[in-house]
């Protein structure tokens, strides 16, 4: 399968592709990518200071996440996330502090605001995919104009849920886009040990699901692929599987130490392919951005993150009773007894 590429690492455009995004759209996308990067840095630091729990950074995958989300209309389309798609969720209407509250363990503060078409993060591998297919199928049955984009990784694609979801989505022609971010690593399991298949995209064929292979560090190629897939979903043609080939430039999460298993040579190669500098090079070549304007973006992002962290610091731990909420429709006697004991203050 041919990999789709548009924006070269040096910022030039390959072949005769027309522009996928306007200059203004590209500038907006760059701002989102840089914001994502800044949140990653800050969130890691907060975790190291004990001010937040575990956090999974997006670093390296900004083009993949931002680029795919640009195809979505937040007023009708849904995102069913995994846990490493922060900038897409922000575009859809989530707040930084809301998302980080989840990682601080406060599910009340992390509640998705009404009207924001995003499901909660999913840590269990691939468990979000059946939800995504069900949601998409439901939209179809209700005659809703929306489509669903769900995210999965190379590791998650080895789970049974992945295969069942692709199969059902294909059969029902559910309006869903499976955005598979192949970032090279499933925690410490390398791509080479994940699957013998040449590409993850090739798995779609077995389920009758059209597939696209794309350079995941190429903002334009990812955007174009996502646009095509969302268009197919909305025109009743069913699901698409997109393999976005990118690379996790940091740790799996704050509890991980990649220096123990990542080959530094391989990482260096991927750093050359960093998705952010190539967007800047593209804009520079068209005199569409200056250093001062980049500084302005960074300053705006810095202020926004500082504001969010100030709010985050006021959010305390979740109350103990929330452990029991929204899990069982009717609580068992034992569970109720445990909750009552906790509410009496016997233990926190």
């Amino acid at each position: 399968m041919l990999r789709r590429e548009i924006l070269r690492p040096d910022g030039s455009i390959s072949g005769d592709s027309g522009p996928v995004l306007s200059i203004q759209e590209t500038l907006d996308a760059l701002e989102r990518m840089l914001l994502s990067k800044r949140i990653d840095e800050r969130a890691f630091s907060l975790q190291r200071q004990g001010r937040m729990g575990t956090y999974s950074a997006v670093r390296g995958q900004e083009a993949s996440v931002v680029g795919s989300s640009l195809a979505l209309d937040p007023s009708v389309d849904w995102i069913v996330p995994q846990y490493r798609e922060l900038p897409a969720l922000l575009r859809h209407g989530l707040s930084i502090e809301g998302f980080l509250s989840y990682w601080k363990g406060n599910s009340e503060a992390a509640r998705i605001p009404d009207g924001v078409k995003v499901l909660p993060p999913q840590i269990g591998l691939a468990a979000q995919l059946p939800h995504a297919v069900g949601l998409a199928w439901g939209l179809q049955l209700q005659g809703d104009p929306g489509a669903v984009m769900t995210f999965i990784g190379d590791g998650g694609s080895s789970e049974g849920d992945f295969h069942e979801s692709l199969n059902l989505a294909g059969v029902m022609k559910a309006p869903v886009v499976f955005l598979l971010q192949n970032n090279g690593w499933a925690i410490s399991t390398p791509r080479s040990k994940q699957s013998a298949a040449d590409t993850f995209a090739s798995r779609g064929e077995g389920y009758g699901v059209p597939s696209i292979l794309v350079d995941g560090n190429d903002l334009f190629a990812v955007s174009a692929a996502a646009r095509e897939a969302v268009g197919r979903a909305k025109s009743g043609e069913g699901p698409t599987l997109i393999e976005s080939q990118t690379y996790r430039l940091g740790a799996h999460n704050t509890a991980d130490d990649p220096s123990k298993y990542v080959d530094s040579g391989e990482k260096l190669q991927w750093e050359e392919l960093d998705p952010i500098p190539r967007v800047i090079s593209y804009l520079r070549a068209r005199d569409a951005i200056t250093d001062a304007e980049i500084d302005d973006i960074e300053a705006r992002n810095e202020a926004e993150v500082a504001r969010a962290v100030d709010v985050l610091d006021t959010i305390g731990p979740a109350s103990a009773e929330t452990l029991f909420d929204h899990v069982s429709s009717t609580m068992s006697i034992r569970l109720r007894r445990q909750r009552d004991q906790i509410l009496k203050g016997a233990s926190r």
Partner: protein
């Protein structure tokens, strides 16, 4: 100006301590939020610990190599009052006045703030000279069941040293606290806290001894880690034998007489015979001179027989390795093993001299032991322990007789070695030791 006490956060997940690797700042340095203060090593990895505040470093509470508990003061930072916009401390657990269990903890522990308190407080918050209990006031961690037990026994949980994760107090801790306090009369009769038993009814404590706590460091820490790694990863089987050592005692006497006759001022112990016998038995039972690798799913059978000799020193156990033991004479083994043991005792032994062992001998007879259950040293697959040779009454031709008996125990990795293998190895070993002349028949 005020002081911010930076307490070491849990930089991993559920860790209780971290070792300082490097400080990136010095006392007097001006620092900004998110600036890295130090690299610390946890059980998982080396991570950078950044500062939550802007200010000046007033004190660093440890040197590289020191272990710092999570929650202990890690650095003290002087912050200007207008700069104390962050971080807001997590809200402390609110004291519940109606909770009968909550009153078990000291009131000040209930109401004091948690870990990152201290922003904007007066300089006294530094509390450098205060006792640990005062510097880290926090609600006592304990399960409801433990609180109930403590309530029944009239024990103030705040005064109990918790042995659980994060200092959590367990029921055992409560009982131990009572035992340590000498108030063994507490029993099942609930004591009333503000009506202690009179001196007349309380048995006098046998001897007043203070409980001391020392950090787990250096060799002891390494030994502890190794033992846990072996005990939790290797399924041990241990088999025991008692060997008639009559001929062995005679053989040693003969060798020492030979040394004396040839004008050499040295004697050998039983150890060289044990090494030689083990060396021959390993050649006939290769699984005992092998290593099982679960991850790589392979078994390595070692060519050389490098025998580790457990040596007790003041600092703890050392295991120098007698390389290529199969190539040495009895006297050669004796000289080499004594030289290694000396170097271990005066800590001049190199790590090379303690590596590449393929089998280990431990001699608990040297401190009077009879039989024991030796713990294997991974990646080795087996270990032999020898007791003290002593006269015992044994049955000889249906009649009791007194003979010198050498007790021995061999522990083996049951993933690799079955009971039948153990039988073969022990038969070879005991045959050689009961009749040392047999050793002459074999290639070593």
């Amino acid at each position: 100006m005020s002081s911010f006490e930076y307490r070491l956060p849990d930089v991993g997940e559920g860790l209780d301590a971290a070792e300082i690797i490097t400080w990136h700042v010095s006392v007097g340095d001006a620092i900004v939020p998110d600036q890295v203060l130090a690299d610390v090593e946890t059980d998982k990895s080396v991570v950078e610990v950044p500062s939550p505040v802007e200010g000046t470093v007033a004190e660093l509470t440890g040197a590289p190599g020191d272990l710092i508990d999570v929650g202990a003061v890690f650095a003290i930072i002087t912050v200007s009052d207008e700069a104390t916009h962050e971080p807001a401390p997590a809200s402390p657990p609110s004291p519940d006045e109606g909770d009968p269990y909550a009153t078990m903890a000291a009131p000040e522990a209930e109401t004091a703030a948690t870990a990152q308190d201290g922003v904007g407080e007066g300089p006294s918050a530094a509390g450098a000279g205060e006792s640990d209990a005062l510097v880290t006031p926090r609600r006592v961690l304990a399960s409801p069941a433990t609180r109930r037990v403590a309530l029944g026994l009239g024990v103030d949980l705040a005064s109990v040293r918790g042995s659980g994760p994060g200092g959590r107090v367990t029921k055992d801790d409560v009982h131990r606290h009572i035992d340590d306090a000498g108030s063994s009369s507490a029993g099942s009769e609930p004591a009333v806290a503000d009506d202690p038993p009179s001196a007349a009814t309380r048995p006098a404590p046998p001897e007043s001894r203070d409980t001391t706590v020392t950090p787990l460091r250096g060799l002891r820490r390494q030994i502890a880690k190794n033992m846990v790694a072996s005990w939790t990863s290797v399924p041990h089987i241990t088999d025991f034998r008692e060997v008639d050592a009559t001929a062995l005692v005679a053989a040693r006497r003969t060798v020492n007489a030979h040394l004396a006759d040839s004008g050499r001022d040295e004697k050998i112990t039983f150890l060289p015979f044990l090494v030689r016998a083990v060396s021959i038995a390993l050649a006939t039972s290769p699984k005992f001179n092998a290593s099982l690798d679960m991850e790589g799913e392979e078994i390595s059978y070692f060519g050389p027989r490098n025998i580790g000799l457990a040596v007790s020193t003041d600092a703890g156990l050392f295991v120098p390795v007698l390389k290529n033991s199969q190539a040495m004479s009895l006297v050669g083994i004796s000289q080499a093993s004594e030289a290694l043991a000396d170097r271990a005792r005066n800590r001049t032994i190199s790590s090379e001299e303690m590596s590449d062992g393929t089998f280990t001998i431990t001699n608990y007879g040297s401190y009077g032991g009879w039989l024991g259950t030796p713990i294997i040293r991974p990646p080795e697959s087996a270990i032999a322990g020898f007791g003290k040779i002593e006269d015992r009454v044994v049955a000889v031709n249906s009649a009791p007789a007194v003979k010198p008996i050498l007790p021995l125990a061999v522990s083996a990795d049951h993933r690799l070695i079955d009971g039948a293998d153990m039988g073969v190895f022990l038969r070879t070993l005991t045959n050689l030791l009961e009749d040392p002349v047999r050793m002459m028949a074999e290639d070593f």
